[in-house]
Amino acid sequence: MSTRCHVATRKGLFTLDRGESGWSISRVSFLGDNCTVVMHDTRNGDLLAALNHGHFGIKMQRSRDRGETWSEIATPKYPEKPADYVPKAGPAEGKTPDWSLKLIWSLAPGGGDEPGFVWCGTLPGGLFQSRDGGDSWELNRPLWDHPLREQWFGGGADHPGIHSICVDPRDARHVTIGISCGGVWSTRDGGRTWNPPGPGMRAEYMPPEQQFEPNIQDPHAVVQCHANPDALWVQHHNGIFKSTDSGASWSEIKDVNPSVFGFAVAVHPKNADTAWFIPAVKDEKRYPVAGKVVVNRTRDGGKTFETLTRGLPQTHAYDLVYRHGFDVDETGSRLIFGSTTGSVWISEDEGNSWQTVSSHLPPVYAVRFEKPV
């Protein structure tokens, strides 16, 4: 059961530890700096953190002593744009993105049989891979050069971005990624070839003839059940979707109270029918419905949902939870989420009750349990 969690915020990276009396902040790293995402490598204990220094650009840091010390490592770098480059297809919205790193949005360790392999998803839509724990990075060209990639567009951001990377625990060559806005893609050969999204997602905000176009969908987050990796859950801009066939097809789950809108989703690592969501007002206003912070849980694959409130603020609470601001530990019993207004809550009973760890942190971008090495 996880006893440590990392919280990436607008003003630094916070470490939470579970002591005898509960959870508390034990360390602050990069205080004052914008930490957009953090990864714990379950294979060797490495921690990777992405920083956005604004004027000075995006940088990557690594710790090999559980966060005691950090060193700057290589940052993913887009290759030189060919002088004669002509887009093969225009984006569905906006303009074709620059070949320049805008944001590191997701990090995921490769498989257990791929020591040192790390995936990195970015804005403006490039997927990078490292074979040496982050000492060097290479753009995955098969995906970047795929003609359908140029149809992706930004959802809320100026550029499309890869925010979710799910590595199949049965076969690390099978990787599923989520793109806003580009749907859910997958590879079965470690990234040499890519399968465009399967049908079933719906974007009701698009023109009628494009609402079911798989390659323009806006999945806010994609998660995969560890024990049943063919089962995927998606919190989409338009609602909740699930797949039981590794994303070959999707079904929509409608009429969930208080809202089907949100950014974050977590799935039980041992039971694909159990998943949690943090709903908000749909869709451009984005705050907890009626000012009440709640977690929705299904235990039957989305047929029914319970709204969990114990320990969460139920009056005038306007905490929004971003897509990486929610995590579940390897047992499925401990959950954590952090909000845009700097609140962090942890549950140790699958969401039945919640305890406040802090209400005064900087805006939270990502939370990640440190799972056993």
Binding site: G54, F56, G57, Y78, S100, L101
Partner: protein, 89 residues
């Protein structure tokens, strides 16, 4: 030789001491400087080798005009200042 000076705000991330380096264009001067300090390159230039959006370079007090190509001429006695826009939050 031209002199290259950096904002002190960059120093907490990567040491960038003032140096005199060879070069007749801004690209040559910066390439010469960054060859000896490769980590600093990405703090000033983006993936495509252009001046980062919120960075600014002055050559003898005048802003460098060619932010993408770095083709501005640099005299042997020029002073080049590299700093960031004064914004944040």
């Amino acid at each position: 030789m031209p002199t290259v000076r950096f904002t002190r705000n960059i120093q907490r991330h990567v040491a960038c001491p003032t140096r005199e380096v060879e070069g007749t264009t801004l690209r040559e001067v910066l390439d010469t400087y960054f060859r000896e300090n490769e980590q600093a390159r990405g703090y000033v230039l983006d993936d495509q080798g252009c001046i980062r959006q919120h960075m600014v370079v002055f050559i003898n007090g005048d802003q460098a005009a060619d932010r993408d190509g770095l083709g501005d001429r640099v005299a042997p006695d020029a002073v080049i200042d590299i700093l960031q826009a004064l914004s944040g939050g």
